[in-house]
């Protein structure tokens, strides 16, 4: 790459993705999506159902190949890389707490697997003594009493605990980009707030670049330094800094209605 092109933490260029093309279930999910994230950006993403929020995150993670366009993470073109090879760059937390961890494996094993993200899996021991000490300390910072349960199966933990562990796992190997896909949506409000706080803390402590999809407009405004709104597979509103901080939920609602042609926001958005 020439020195002239600025290196972004993430650069999406003209991404197109259509699901079930040529069938009655055809759905244009991403429609010429463009996005650039600077180093250390923490962007929150809102939009109605089917706007393409999670689809965008899946495109970045490589869950499937995009039809058109290119994806660069930290200056590296990952467009054609399979999911497990892109994992080197990415920390991911999912909406369903079951998705981010392996239930039948212990807490320390889950963490050890995450600590080796992007590396080959050799015949060395899966969890070393030094790691155990380190994991215990890290779990202590969660303040959930998990530091004494290193060998407990993750399946025994609550949803909130699992999300907290998944967040920790995502940051064990500093990722170029942290993808949070409605990671508090399945939790009760109190636990959700705790997990959000933890997300803020981890992002700040390791100065991570992060993307957080949420249905909660208030959370979208209060967290991060940038907010984007999606509609029909495109970004239709992009606001940052002071302007973002001064936003109100009502502004977003108005914006949403204006752009979606007077359509009412769905119930979930109104209620949150």
């Amino acid at each position: 790459m020439s020195g002239e092109t600025r290196q972004y933490a993430l650069e999406l260029k003209e991404i197109h993705k259509t699901f079930n093309p040529g069938t009655i279930n055809e759905k244009v999910a991403l429609d010429g999506l463009n996005l650039q994230l600077g180093e250390g950006d923490f962007v929150t993403i809102i939009g109605g159902n089917g706007a393409g929020k999670s689809t965008m995150l899946n495109a970045i993670a490589g869950v499937w190949a995009v039809d058109q366009g290119s994806i660069m993470i930290g200056g590296v073109d990952v467009t054609t890389l399979p999911e497990h090879k892109r994992a080197r760059f990415l920390g991911r937390v999912f909406q369903d707490p079951m998705t981010g961890t392996a239930a039948t494996m212990s807490i320390e094993e889950n963490m050890a697997i995450a600590a080796r993200r992007g590396r080959g899996r050799s015949l060395r021991w899966g969890v070393t003594k030094e790691e155990r000490v380190k994991y215990r300390e890290l779990l202590q910072t969660l303040d959930l009493g998990l530091e004494d349960r290193l060998t407990s199966k993750v399946g025994l933990l609550s949803g909130g605990q699992r999300q907290a562990v998944t967040l920790l796992m995502a940051s064990l190997q500093k990722p170029e980009l942290l993808l949070l896909d409605e990671h508090t949506a399945a939790l009760d409000p109190k636990t959700a707030a705790k997990v959000l706080d933890l997300s803020d803390k981890i992002i700040a402590d390791s100065s991570l670049t992060a993307m957080m999809v949420t249905h909660n407009m208030k959370d979208a405004i209060t967290h991060g330094n940038r907010l984007i709104m999606m509609h029909e597979g495109k970004i239709i509103y992009d606001v940052r800094g002071e302007e973002k901080k001064s936003l109100h939920v009502s502004d977003l609602m108005a914006k949403f209605e204006e752009i979606s042609g007077g359509e009412f926001a769905n119930d979930r958005m109104i209620l949150s």
Partner: protein
């Protein structure tokens, strides 16, 4: 009246053989455990692989004059190849797992006939120093001791190796792949590679078991693996039902679980010996095995469906 006609001594006489057979098939059951429980993959390759392992061992010992021990290593390797074929059919060619394994199993039938040149090849314990043989259990005390001690020690060594392996980075990657594929991919694990690897290890064990069993019964037969998957599943389930609580939460729980799978295979053969002693026609054995496995596989589901009431009461 009927019970009086049964001779308790004949049941007693059947037991040593049942135990020996159970231990040898227990190695195959370990392979089934790896695919069925760790990888969550219903692998029917084993029915073919068992016979391939047996055919390979017998022909190598007889034709190539190979040491019976060395032949077992080749049985293991050949089993791994069979597992690799199933794995690649599934991961590289996108064929559903269970179908991929059936395709390999069917093709192995021809492969096995080709290895042996006909459907059955005997091997005489008097001519070769076989690792195991049913002759040894009717021998003198020392022979018996050496036989059982050797087989049990062999099983325990395998358990120890597997225990260590599944504690390594690679072993953990296999377990994560089987437990939660999305998580595994998100953590950079090549799930295709580790699926193939697990199938290879599993079928390697099955091939080894086949090589041992052919030596034990003094022949390799193209049909020796028919229904092996059902016996493997039975062993896994019997082990889990009887010793699941004992193993759970224990240090080295995984090693205990594997031992209980082997014991499950021994119990399976003891039960078979028992029902045969009750004069059940041997033609009905496979039906009996299938019903037992079906019942035990259905139990957790039925418990979940109808167990609520009981839980509320207690």
């Amino acid at each position: 009246m009927i019970l009086l006609a049964l001779n308790p001594l004949s049941l007693l006489r059947a037991m040593p053989g049942a135990v020996a057979q159970g231990l040898i098939w227990g190695i195959m059951a370990l392979g089934v455990y790896i695919t069925f429980r760790l990888l969550d993959f219903a692998d029917l390759t084993v029915d073919g692989t068992l016979a391939t392992g047996g055919a390979t061992a017998v022909m190598l010992i007889r034709v190539a004059d190979m040491e019976p021990w060395t032949a077992l290593i080749v049985s293991f390797a050949v089993g791994m190849l069979a597992g690799m074929v199933t794995g690649l059919l599934h991961t590289a060619l996108g064929i559903p797992g269970i179908l991929a394994s059936i395709l390999t199993q069917i093709s192995l039938y021809s492969v096995n006939l080709n290895i042996m040149g006909k459907s059955n090849q005997p091997i005489n314990v008097d001519q070769y120093r076989l690792v195991v043989s049913s002759r040894y259990i009717s021998g003198d005390a020392l022979t018996k001791f050496k036989f059982y001690g050797g087989v049990i020690l062999g099983c325990l060594i395998l358990v120890a190796i597997l225990y260590c392996y599944f504690g390594t980075e690679q072993g953990q990657a296999i377990r994560a792949t089987g437990c939660n594929m999305r998580m595994a991919k998100a953590q950079g694990i090549n799930t295709n590679f580790h699926t193939v690897l697990a199938l290879m290890i599993s079928n390697g064990l099955v091939g080894l078991s086949g090589g041992l069993y052919a030596q034990y019964q003094g022949a390799a037969d193209v049909n020796m693996g028919r229904g092996a998957i059902v016996i493997g599943l039975a062993a896994v389930i019997i082990g889990e039902v009887l010793f699941g609580k004992f193993c759970a939460g224990r240090k080295m729980a995984f090693a205990f679980t594997m031992v209980s799978v082997i014991i499950g295979a021994v119990i399976y053969y003891a039960v078979i010996a028992f029902v045969l002693w009750l004069k059940m026609p041997s033609d009905d054995l496979k039906l009996f095995s299938a019903i037992v496995v079906a019942v035990f596989l259905a139990l957790p589901y039925l418990k979940g469906k109808f167990g609520r009431k009981g839980a509320a009461r207690s």
